[in-house]
């Protein structure tokens, strides 16, 4: 970790892919900068093809950035020793066909864990993900949801400081999702940092301290989840005795006028209604969901940046 306390840091990272037989390039990440602080759950959002998985793979050292650099737990991306303190769950995990318990032990062992502690820890993490009864079964016979849970167990086996999870709940049933959510919250409580990439915005809204929205390889929104939701809080005002044309976006409804305003404009709008001789019937606060913020952010973003041959 560096002096600023960032556990994960991207500095003006650009990643371009080139088709093998052409000079055509596709820019997956474009001048992307991001800092993840210690002991937070960071939600990493974006539509398909936004560059989320590319960013994660760069952080894990699976690929090199075209431009820019980054640090994982204070070390440059790709530093193997830094990964000892990281737990990673890839999207659509693929595992070797062997018993769940042996598999988790294998991943712990290649991460440098001692055998005596590993046996205990493997059983412990399998219990944490609810697979204690299936620990002796071969994972090749597991359902996708069970594989995802084994994947989560292998990510947790080394008791990591930083957990990087790419779509951890994508294949899970609602009960398992709740288990994972509780697991993430417990991990944060224990001082871990979690970098969570997910399409399940309701989940992200529930657990994440901060979120970033990525679109076409660019960061289009970032902030504390609570701040983002609050800043976009709206109120619906129902009034009578005024005409809809007096307010932008107001509509007539059942003899009343419905006006939707931002929280910060609420007082001003109410005073204007009274000035115009109107009567306020109701003021209903409308809290927007992360989904609405996400859709708004991605709709506003620029078109894909694709580079042709120079």
């Amino acid at each position: 970790m560096n002096a600023m306390g960032y556990v994960l840091e991207f500095e003006r990272v650009t990643k371009e892919y080139r088709a093998s037989l052409s000079r055509r390039r596709f820019r997956a990440l474009d001048n992307f900068s991001l800092q993840v602080e210690a002991e937070e759950i960071f939600g990493f959002l974006g539509p398909n093809g936004a560059g989320k998985t590319t960013a994660i793979h760069l952080a894990m050292g699976f690929m090199r950035p075209t431009h820019g650099c980054g640090r994982l737990l204070g070390e440059p991306f790709g530093h193997a020793v830094a990964r000892r303190r990281v737990g990673f769950l890839p999207e659509n995990i693929a595992l070797y066909p062997r018993r769940a318990e042996r598999l988790v032990r294998f991943y712990g062992a290649i991460n440098g864990m001692k055998a005596a502690y590993l046996d205990k820890r493997a059983a412990q993490v399998l219990e944490m993900v609810g697979l204690q009864d299936d620990a002796k079964r071969n994972v090749s016979r597991f359902s996708r949801g069970m594989l995802q849970r084994v994947g989560l167990a292998q990510a947790l086996v080394n008791d990591p400081e930083l957990l990087i999870l790419d779509e951890p709940t994508s294949a899970l049933d609602p009960v398992a999702r709740v288990t994972v959510r509780e697991l993430l919250l417990a991990a944060r409580q224990a001082g871990k940092t979690i970098f969570l990439s997910s399409h399940l915005l309701s989940e992200v809204e529930l657990v994440c301290d901060r979120v970033a929205v990525l679109h076409h390889g660019r960061l289009v929104r970032m902030g504390r989840t609570a701040d983002l939701l609050q800043s976009s809080e709206r109120a619906e005002i129902m009034a009578r005795g005024i005409t809809p044309s007096s307010f932008t976006g107001a509509v007539a409804q059942d003899g009343l006028v419905k006006i939707s305003v931002l929280g910060c404009q609420q007082r001003e709008t109410l005073e204007r209604i009274w000035d115009l001789g109107g009567e306020v019937i109701s003021v209903v606060p409308q809290r927007r969901s992360l989904e609405e913020i996400f859709l708004e952010a991605t709709a506003d973003a620029e078109s894909p940046s694709e580079k042709g041959a120079q």
Binding site: F62, A80, P90, N111, G112
Partner: protein, 237 residues
């Protein structure tokens, strides 16, 4: 070192079926030794022994060519390299895995060969020397294939490996190019094995084996260098 050994053992475990199929050839030799008179059919036994030995050089090339490709295609490589395993360690694990697979095979062939051929009058010490030659040749061939497979698909990697192994030996027959015979010792080691006979079992020469070991190290270093630049998360399809 522990991750390297674990990756190597895991590789052998994943390749257990091809290794077992190859061991059937050794069983064939043992069967011939049991059912035929070793002394009468000794030339046939030696021919089978040589064939079975040389097949494994080709097999080690296939192991080397497909190791990284299969791991990348299945995406299993991601969960391994997400741990504290460097790419050099990962490749070392694969090279060690190929060597262990060869050693298992050569040990089985050595036991069977020393029993059947030894009974027919072939020097047992020479059988084991030939097995050492075979391990050295297989390990080098597998490492060259692994090096090519870091940037080529398995088909082209196999072709490139065959070219690298065979071309120097072919060219060495041309006048003034005799020195090329020592460039890539795989062919020389295979020829040592193939030329041995009951009349002339061959002499023990360690220099091609040492050269093969040095070249294995060089190709491993080269493959580690190339592999460190490869975007492993990019689909290989």
């Amino acid at each position: 070192m522990r991750p390297v050994v674990l990756i190597a053992v895991n590789f052998v475990r994943e390749q257990r079926w091809p290794i077992l199929v190859m061991l059937l050839w050794v069983l064939l030799l043992a069967f011939l030794g049991l059912t035929t008179g070793a002394a009468r059919q000794r030339d046939d036994l030696l021919l089978v022994f040589k064939q079975v030995a040389v097949y494994f050089v080709a097999f080690s090339v296939f192991f080397g060519c497909s190791a990284i490709y299969n791991e990348r295609r299945s995406r299993r490589i991601l969960s391994v390299l997400s741990k504290a395993v460097s790419r050099q360690q990962y490749l070392s694990g694969l090279v060690l895995g190929i060597t262990i697979a060869c050693a298992i095979y050569c040990f089985a062939l050595g036991i069977t060969g020393s029993w059947t051929l030894g009974e027919a009058g072939f020097p047992v010490a020479q059988v084991w020397f030939l097995m050492v030659c075979l391990i050295a040749a297989c390990t080098l061939a597998g490492t060259v294939a692994l090096m090519f497979s870091t940037f080529l698909n398995p088909f082209f990697a196999a072709g490139a490996t065959a070219a690298v192994m065979v071309l120097p030996a072919v060219l060495s027959s041309k006048p003034g190019l005799g020195y090329l015979d020592n460039v890539m010792p795989v062919s020389k080691l295979c020829i040592t094995l193939l030329n041995s006979s009951f009349g002339a079992p061959g002499k023990v020469s360690w220099s091609p084996i040492i050269l093969a070991a040095i070249e294995t190290l060089v190709f491993w270093l080269l493959s580690a260098r190339i592999f460190s630049y490869v975007d492993i998360a990019v689909s290989v399809e």
